[in-house]
Symmetry: C2
DNA sequence: CGTCGCATTGATATCGCTCAAATCCGGTGG
DNA sequence: CCACCGGATTTGAGCGATATCAATGCGACG
């Protein structure tokens, strides 16, 4: 196990770590599928897992991208079945935390229960930020909103983790539209771009 | 206080009820504003409260509509400032639960902490459902998704609570588009409509 | 070297948004 | 009781932005 993995793992209370098991999934492997009975909650140690649903037309909708340190399926803890599909989009190392044991721990350890609630609240705020973003009408506004929301520093710097195509889907745009929008924003000098690093030039008020 | 209010109130543990205070807000009154320090979490006893943010262009984005029995600002419990505006869209009676006391209660009462976590998880699933909906490309798909997701029974019946205009904003559509879409869906026989009651005729597989 | 997926750009069509106007409806005041 | 008002509900017309289809370059990988 890498040092990074250890660091991630250490964010959990010992009690949880003792419950958990380390598992690995090759790229493209499903961790669970929609409708499967809920057996565990997961934390990503390394790699990436995507939570998605598929529409009848086969279009994939990514609900969440879980990166190292992040949890997923945590909203399913008190349901009987998973409500979406989890697929390792990169080779992934996961910490598998049995649901039953976690539930018991939540009943015993109030400190951990508080942390858990805070985790859920954070996810909820994040989901609402995405909602706000998707309700914006134009592509440029969504990009700006993303940078304002997720970016760091006065220039709202963002280091994209995946491909632009992935990002486009997260923004609810066709990837071609995103390319063009970025190009236009660079053209106008509003946006700075070097590979996967984006930043705003003229910083305007937060959304 | 009405019988309904009592029933709502009874869904809370006594310990919380003892902390809470009943307050009323006339239609249009702000309960709190974005940036205000977090003093309380709320449960709606009667009426309706909307949580919204305003874009720089003045457009309102409704993040959540809280109806009787529902909580709001619960995701702000462990933050220092509210991240959106709460406005009574109808005359509203609320239960105001001081944040500090609630935090203490969460540390003491494990049973309540579990309920609280379940509440957050429910909200999270709901937000993700909305996310899924907004990422759909066409107006008709969003309407179908809404009915499939929120509707009851095999025909996905839904009783709209507000105006169609409100619903349109929740779906991320211009109201004119929603009117036309509904009209076309009725035209094609896919949708049944009687005032605020909607239902699907030919039920197809869930999204 | 061939293949595959991402990145990019072009052309076109579609769909939703915007502006406009007419109607309906509930509530209010004379 | 009736006139009037504001907001919701429709419907129309036109524009523009985005999705879609297509083609090309490019880099990674076997």
């Amino acid at each position: 196990m890498s040092a990074i993995e250890s660091a991630v793992r250490d964010t959990l209370p010992r009690a949880v770590r003792d419950l958990a098991r380390r598992v690995e999934y090759p790229k493209g492997t499903p961790v669970f599928r929609q409708g499967d009975p809920v057996r565990a909650v997961f934390q990503v140690l390394g790699g990436e897992v995507r939570l998605a649903r598929f529409g009848k037309d086969g279009a994939e909708l990514v609900l969440q991208r879980a990166r190292p340190g992040e949890f997923f399926a945590e909203a399913s803890l008190d349901t009987s079945r998973y409500h979406c599909n989890a697929i390792a989009s990169e080779e992934a190392a996961l910490l598998e935390i049995p649901a039953r044991a976690l539930r018991e721990l939540l009943d015993e350890d109030t400190k951990f229960a508080r942390q858990w609630a805070a985790l859920l609240a954070r996810q909820l705020r994040s989901a609402r930020a995405r909602l706000e973003r998707l309700s914006l009408g134009s592509a440029a506004e969504r990009v700006r909103h993303y940078l304002n929301t997720e970016g760091h520093g006065t220039t709202c710097e963002v280091e994209l983790s995946g491909s632009l195509k992935d990002w486009a889907r997260e923004l609810g745009l066709a990837h071609e539209t995103l390319y063009r929008t970025l190009a236009r924003m660079q053209e106008s000098g509003e946006l700075e771009r070097e590979g996967a690093a984006l930043s705003l030039k003229a910083h305007r008020k937060r959304v």
